[in-house]
């Protein structure tokens, strides 16, 4: 098991599979809150679902209403389990806290590469750690 330090944005713990993109994501208009699928046609993950996965992205973008979309995904059971960013921005950070989704940021770029390849990851938003389990 490898452990990486990170900064806590939203508290809580979650373990699961990574879904990764090197492109920032807008939740308003970019993600379908009914299915959890990415619908932004210009996004590399278009058509893929972020539901019950650990979302690994550089950061967020777009409208501030995106925070409410994250909350709605949580209500619809389509939300990601946790969110890891290089640099958190207010829209996703606020949405993650509103929805009670663990979120961390400030990982080193090389850790981003390791996480992108990992199959089983735990985000510990209580202690500021990311654990990678090797099977």
């Amino acid at each position: 098991m490898q452990v990486f330090k990170c900064r806590v944005i939203s508290r809580g713990k979650a373990r699961g599979k990574i879904i990764h993109s090197s492109q920032p994501l807008s939740f308003l208009g970019g993600v379908d809150p009914d299915t959890g699928k990415i619908m932004d046609i210009n996004h590399p993950l278009q058509g893929e679902s972020i539901k019950n996965k650990i979302l690994l992205i550089p950061g967020g973008k777009g409208s501030t209403v995106g925070s409410y979309v994250i909350f709605q995904m949580y209500k619809n059971n389509t939300a990601p389990l946790a969110i890891i960013c290089l640099e958190a921005e207010p829209i996703i950070a606020t949405g993650a806290i509103m929805a009670g989704i663990p979120m961390v940021d400030h990982i080193r770029p090389e850790v981003m590469d390791i996480l992108a390849q990992a199959l089983d990851v735990e985000v510990d938003g209580d202690n500021g750690e990311i654990k990678v389990f090797n099977h």
Binding site: V65, S67, Y68, F71, A88, E89, A93, T94, I97
Partner: protein, 395 residues
């Protein structure tokens, strides 16, 4: 970020789940923007009200929050405009379905003790912070007004962040809360006098150029309060300006000018006329004239009433304002004059956040550069930007 012992207790959940979550939002924002601490605020102004913008997600979030008896604002807090006139929605043609959702949102805010005056001009209705006070406001035009004209200190808060600040009575101390971040970074020098829609056109032009900058204006004539309302709204919508200074007019101008003015933008009549032309998407006569962006002052309502006195309108007219101004206008007889000419005084809402695209209008006439900027994208309608006297069509 440093938290006091009391703030730590709030953050750890000793005062319940809502205060804990609200503190988490403030701390996360503080961390993101590298704040060293929180500051106590004296006023909040909360956006994220129209059902058209926040939808079912926002409605559910707010209703969930309002169920917690701990979710109560600790400081004077007022609400941004809603998507409908909460009393005359049916006469104006808004659907029952939309209105029902909208009423639930406003009620949830009311239950949290956010004053549901539903206006973007809180500074006209008694939410008036003093110079140097820390506040958490979110409506972009009101943020520009509070920072620039009142000399209060606020960042451009998001809706949920401003609500969290209202509930905790605190906000993260960064950006415009720090005096060193309140100095201008460029000078805008006017080469002509301004009047009427010139102010909005100027704001639109400068906002596009400076983005998040802090312009320092040198004007040729003294503006009125209502002019500055329009200037700030335009600066904050074409750019993301949260603070500007005007030489010899605004409270902080003396300390605002950098030792060496880096960039100077000169603005003349030609440039302003060019902007005005670009803001209109058509030359057709508007079928709905929408005034009051930001919400009209009592004096603006009086001016419209004086123009319309004894005349009949051929096109529809909405003059958007707060319930407070509407009540005063009723007493002064302005409402009656406007209604007798065929116009309406609409309150709680405006042309930007209302679903006017559902009302069968094609061309909206506005005298606000902010409204001209947003109506085509948010409502998908054509827009004409001009002085109100040129937009109305009299019999």
């Amino acid at each position: 970020m440093h938290l006091t012992r009391e703030e730590e207790k709030m953050y750890q959940g000793e005062y319940g789940e809502t205060i804990k979550k609200s503190m988490e939002i403030l701390v996360a924002l503080g961390d993101i923007y590298k704040a060293e601490k929180l500051v106590n605020i004296t006023s909040a102004q909360v956006s994220g009200v129209s059902y058209k913008t926040i939808g079912d997600a926002g409605l559910e979030y707010l209703e969930d929050l309002a169920r917690d008896p701990q979710a109560q604002t600790r400081v004077a807090s007022t609400l941004n405009p809603a998507g409908v006139d909460l009393e005359k929605w049916e006469e104006l043609g808004f659907s029952r379905e939309f209105t029902t959702h909208q009423q639930r949102i406003v009620e949830a805010y009311g239950n949290m003790d956010v004053m549901t005056t539903c206006t973007c001009t809180p500074y006209l209705i008694g939410n008036v912070p003093l110079k140097g006070s820390h506040i958490a406001w979110s409506e972009s035009s009101a943020v520009a007004y509070a920072n620039s004209i009142l000399g209060a200190m606020t960042n451009r808060e998001g809706g949920p962040g401003a609500l969290a600040a209202a509930i905790c009575g605190k906000t993260a101390c960064y950006g415009y809360h720090l005096p060193e971040n309140r100095k201008s970074d460029l000078v805008v020098e006017l080469e002509c006098e301004l009047q009427g829609t010139d102010y909005g056109a100027l704001g639109y032009l400068v906002g596009q150029i400076v983005k998040e900058g802090k312009p320092y204006f040198k004007l040729k004539n003294r503006p009125l309060n209502d002019n500055l309302k329009g200037l700030g709204a335009a600066l904050a919508s074409s750019g993301a300006v949260a603070l500007y200074h005007i030489e010899r007019i605004t409270p902080e101008y003396k300390d605002a000018l950098p030792a060496e003015a880096k960039d100077i933008i000169f603005v003349d009549r030609n440039k302003l006329d060019g902007v005005k032309e670009k803001l209109s998407t058509t030359t057709k006569k508007p079928d709905l004239v929408c005034l009051g962006c930001p919400h009209a002052s009592l004096e603006e309502i009086r001016n419209v009433a004086e123009t319309l006195q004894g005349k009949k309108l051929k096109n529809d007219l909405w003059l958007c304002t707060s319930i407070n101004m509407k009540t005063a206008a009723d007493r002064m007889g302005y409402t009656k004059i406007i209604e007798q000419s065929g116009g309406r005084l609409v309150f709680d809402t405006c042309m930007v956040v209302a679903p006017i695209e559902e009302l069968n209008y094609q061309v909206i006439g506005v005298d606000s550069a902010k409204a001209a900027n947003y109506v085509p994208s948010m409502c998908g309608l054509e827009v004409v930007f001009d002085e109100f006297e040129n937009l109305i069509d009299l019999e």
